[in-house]
């Protein structure tokens, strides 16, 4: 009887904890509005997209995907033009979802990575993430798996150009039927070609990524054999989703889906975004803060 009562009390306590945690998350997410912080710059959820106030300069974007994006319309044919906001859904602080098991090579390589978050997390003064401690380029595909913020697509007759808010990087995705290089010189952001799988799904294939970069913020490794497939599926005029599949037989025992239908909404083409990048001098100064006694 006593055991039963204890179990019941425990269940209640855990339920209360879960409730409190969820409440705190919601409260934190809505804190700016409740604190009377300046409106706009993306605005707190769940404001309908049409009611979001945008500042002339330095917008930070949406804090959550609005449920209401009206007026919306059908997806245009073979067109990704616009500024797309994942509303913090692509931050990926703890690394990619459900990585495939590592090969022996992958385990050895990953074992050298000391990350600030995720499964290889170490105290801040021991982190050796080249992005957050030295200001190295984040590289590709970490560009998709960590701090995936706004992306703007521009179409040219020969390519689709993707402009990324994070690190202010751009990628040229060639659509002129050229093939990926067979023996590429490694590049921080690899090589990419694109094609339309159907009128609303743009498929990007990439290779040639530099092994110095980490796959994600958890320090998962990759090799120069990595092949990446991005599927950008335009659901409607205002909605887009991204799925990313990785295939790296030297580092992982099988291909795996690292991003599964990450949601984006289209924001006004006049939106000016805040600068968000890791300058080497600032990165080093920030890292020093943790070392001071």
């Amino acid at each position: 009887m006593k055991v039963l009562a204890m179990r019941r009390a425990c269940t209640l306590l855990i339920s209360a904890s879960v409730g409190l945690a969820i409440f705190s998350m919601v409260t934190l997410a809505q804190a700016p509005a409740q604190q009377g912080a300046p409106p706009g710059r993306g605005g707190p959820p769940p404001v309908p997209l049409s009611q979001v106030t945008w500042e002339p300069w330095n917008n930070t974007g949406l804090r959550a995907i609005p449920q209401n994006v009206e007026p919306d319309g059908p997806a245009p044919r073979r067109d990704l033009t616009g500024i797309w906001d994942p509303a913090r859904g692509g931050i990926g602080a703890r690394g990619a979802r459900n990585p495939a098991p590592l090969t022996e090579w992958g385990q050895k390589k990953g074992g050298t990575h000391k990350s600030g978050d995720g499964i290889r997390q170490v105290p801040a003064d021991q982190i050796n993430d080249p992005l957050s401690t030295m200001g190295d380029p984040g590289g590709y595909p970490r560009q998709l798996l960590f701090e995936l913020r706004h992306v703007q697509f521009l179409h040219t007759p020969q390519s689709v150009v993707a402009l990324f808010m994070w690190e202010r990087r751009w990628r040229v995705i060639w659509t002129d039927s050229r093939q990926l290089p067979g023996d590429p010189d490694p590049r921080w952001y690899g090589y990419s070609v694109g094609r339309w799988d159907d009128d609303y799904t743009f498929v990007v294939n990439s290779n040639g990524t530099d092994e110095r970069t980490w796959l994600d913020n958890a320090g998962n490794p990759h090799s120069s054999e990595l092949r990446v497939e991005e599927r950008w599926h335009r659901i409607s005029e205002k909605r887009l989703e991204l799925t990313v599949t990785l295939d790296d037989p030297r580092a992982y025992t099988r291909p795996w889906v690292a991003l599964d239908k990450v949601q984006f909404v289209q924001i006004p083409p006049t939106t000016d975004l805040m600068e968000m990048m890791n300058a080497a001098s600032e990165v080093q100064k920030v890292a020093e803060q943790f070392k001071e006694k």
């Binding site: 855990i14 904890s17 998350m25 604190q35 931050i91 600030g116 978050d117 957050s132 300058a279």
Partner: protein, 124 residues
């Protein structure tokens, strides 16, 4: 399952569920079960990626000063909460609530801050 185990389990559930919003990097350093509230004087405001830092000079009961380095999120994520490059200046009197690091160093993660005008800003 005794009361202690039950309490620890509930605390663990709470911690696991609460962490993702704030654990951008370096979460392993912090003692998430501890919160400190201190009054002090701003010595520096570092508005930078990947994280902003607020340096606050805090005097203990004996009058000895210690400079605390307090981490916030990146400028993009803390701007909606009301922070700006100009929010703090050296000499500002503030009250900070923080999660300290486990090592005992004067380093912590800012939870909230009361500005000289009485306005409270959350972490982000």
């Amino acid at each position: 399952m005794n009361k202690t185990t039950c309490g620890r389990l509930a605390a663990a559930v709470l911690l696991v569920l609460s962490t993702p919003l704030v654990a951008h990097h370096g979460a392993a350093s912090f003692d998430n079960e501890k919160t400190l509230t201190m009054k002090g004087t701003v010595t520096e405001w570092l508005w930078a990626n990947p994280h902003c830092f607020l340096k606050v000079d805090v005097k203990d009961d004996s009058g000895a000063a210690r400079v605390w380095n307090l981490e916030l999120g990146n400028p993009t994520d803390i701007t909606p909460a009301g922070y700006r490059r100009t929010t703090f200046k050296a000499g500002d009197q503030v009250t900070v609530t923080i999660t300290p690091v486990k090592s005992g160093a004067a380093v912590g993660r800012l939870r909230s801050v009361v500005l000289p005008d009485g306005q409270t800003l959350p972490r982000q």
